[in-house]
């Protein structure tokens, strides 16, 4: 086998396409010829280099460009159109805005005293809304006020102040008979002897929670009922 013949058979030899007899001839020649061995080795390296070459990625917009150039602007399907229509609605920002609007609307409806299940013509009049809102506001204020004055601690503070206000007048008059404080306790005993000390202890008592008032008063028990019963 000549060098030229081997050169022509190099690829077939490496790809295993030669018949056994021809393959044996090539092997014999390669065992004798260093130059041909090097040549075959170079071809093998080339094949390996090509096979190991990575595929390159085209630009991402290439397919879109080709589609545009071939089928043109594609008409979206009904589902795609529907999805595109509702896409802004699924954003959290819009959902939050809608929730806030519903919440505000429900507050206005409640404040205006409108029953949506039994809607009447007068419910649609803004004057009715203002009137009802005003009334609801006053009712709320009245309830809050009543709740406040029904608190025991509030009542006790007020009664003490009333006592303090009434005592100087009594001293001036030097009345022989000690009258119970107006609207206060049913106890007939005098409250305090030293005025200054009683004033100090009073403020300490008012600063304390409701349940701790009685012990603070100590030697000067004050029989009190509920604000409602006393005021009646």
């Amino acid at each position: 086998m000549t060098h030229l013949e081997l050169e022509n058979l190099a690829s077939d030899y490496l790809e295993g396409l030669l018949e056994p007899a021809r393959k044996a001839e090539v092997k014999v020649h390669l065992s004798e010829c260093a130059a041909c061995r090097e040549l075959v080795e170079d071809v093998r390296r080339v094949m390996e280099l090509c096979h190991s070459a990575e595929e390159l990625e085209p630009a991402p917009w290439l397919i879109s460009k080709i589609l545009l150039a071939t089928v043109g602007e594609r008409k979206p399907t009904f589902r795609q159109q529907l999805a595109a229509f509702f896409r802004p609605a699924v954003q959290p920002r819009l959902a939050y805005a809608v929730a806030m609007a519903v919440f505000s609307f429900s507050i206005i409806i409640n404040a205006a005293g409108i029953n949506l299940r039994k809607l009447r013509v007068e419910d649609l009049n803004p004057r009715t809304w203002v009137y009802r809102a005003n009334r609801a506001g006053h009712l709320l204020y009245a309830h809050a006020e009543k709740f406040y004055y029904d608190l025991r601690v509030v009542y006790e503070i007020e009664s003490r102040f009333r006592q303090l206000r009434s005592q100087p007048k009594e001293q001036e008059k030097e009345a022989p008979k000690q009258e119970p404080p107006a609207g206060g306790s049913t106890d007939s005993k005098p409250l305090f002897s030293p005025q200054l000390a009683s004033t100090r202890s009073l403020f300490l008592a008012t600063a304390a929670p409701v349940g701790t008032i009685a012990p603070k008063i100590g030697n000067h028990p004050l029989t009190v009922g509920s604000g409602r019963s006393l005021s009646q």
Partner: protein, 197 residues
């Protein structure tokens, strides 16, 4: 490849989505083929687009009896690349191997990149440079065989030449590529490609 036939039928029936699937399945391969011939990504993209426009316009001329869609697509691509080569032959400025190697040496220092990436990049560039040194006949045969993994029969169909000629071109192409790579190694000193098993 049966899937290609089905998609092709749907394309011919006017189903645009089938064309899109077909396109997505083959764009990368055709782009790589174009890149191996031109060595420039922008040019390869333009050629890929032109090839697929041509394929879209001539879909009805595909005959399944003459081979698979993939073989037909390669033939269309190859013919277009040959036309392009002839068209741009006058304008093309072929730089010398030394100049190309010079530009290769001017790339960023290997210290910046990990060694593996440098080797990979250099090997890709060297292969591309070496392919550019082959004549178009030999280059297309080697690219279709060793980079596109087409068999001899398919390549013969794509190139429109007998299988014997295909074998001969592939062998000559590999030998020539080996010589070019050896020359390049000699110019650049001992390279990593030479140390490949």
């Amino acid at each position: 490849m049966d899937q290609d036939q089905d998609l092709l039928k749907r394309c011919l029936a006017g189903d645009d989505s089938a064309w899109e699937v077909l396109l997505r399945g083959h764009t990368r391969k055709i782009y790589n083929l174009c890149y191996r011939f031109t060595g420039r990504s922008q040019e390869a993209e333009d050629l890929t687009q032109e090839i697929f426009i041509k394929v879209f316009q001539t879909l009805r001329s595909f005959d399944a009896a003459q081979g698979t869609f993939w073989t037909w697509l390669n033939r269309v691509a190859r013919n277009h690349l040959v036309d392009h080569y002839r068209r741009t032959k006058r304008d093309r400025v072929t730089s010398s191997l030394e100049d190309e190697l010079g530009t290769l040496e001017e790339r960023p220092s290997p210290e910046i990149e990990p060694l593996g990436q440098v080797e990979s990049r250099e090997r890709k560039e060297i292969l591309q440079l070496a392919l550019g040194k082959l004549s178009p006949d030999l280059r297309e045969a080697v690219v279709l065989r060793d980079l596109h993994d087409l068999d001899y029969q398919e390549i013969a169909q794509v190139l429109g030449v007998p299988q014997g000629t295909v074998k001969s071109r592939i062998n000559r192409g590999r030998l020539e590529l080996a010589r070019v790579l050896t020359r390049m190694e000699g110019m650049r000193g001992p390279t990593r490609m030479g140390s490949e098993p």
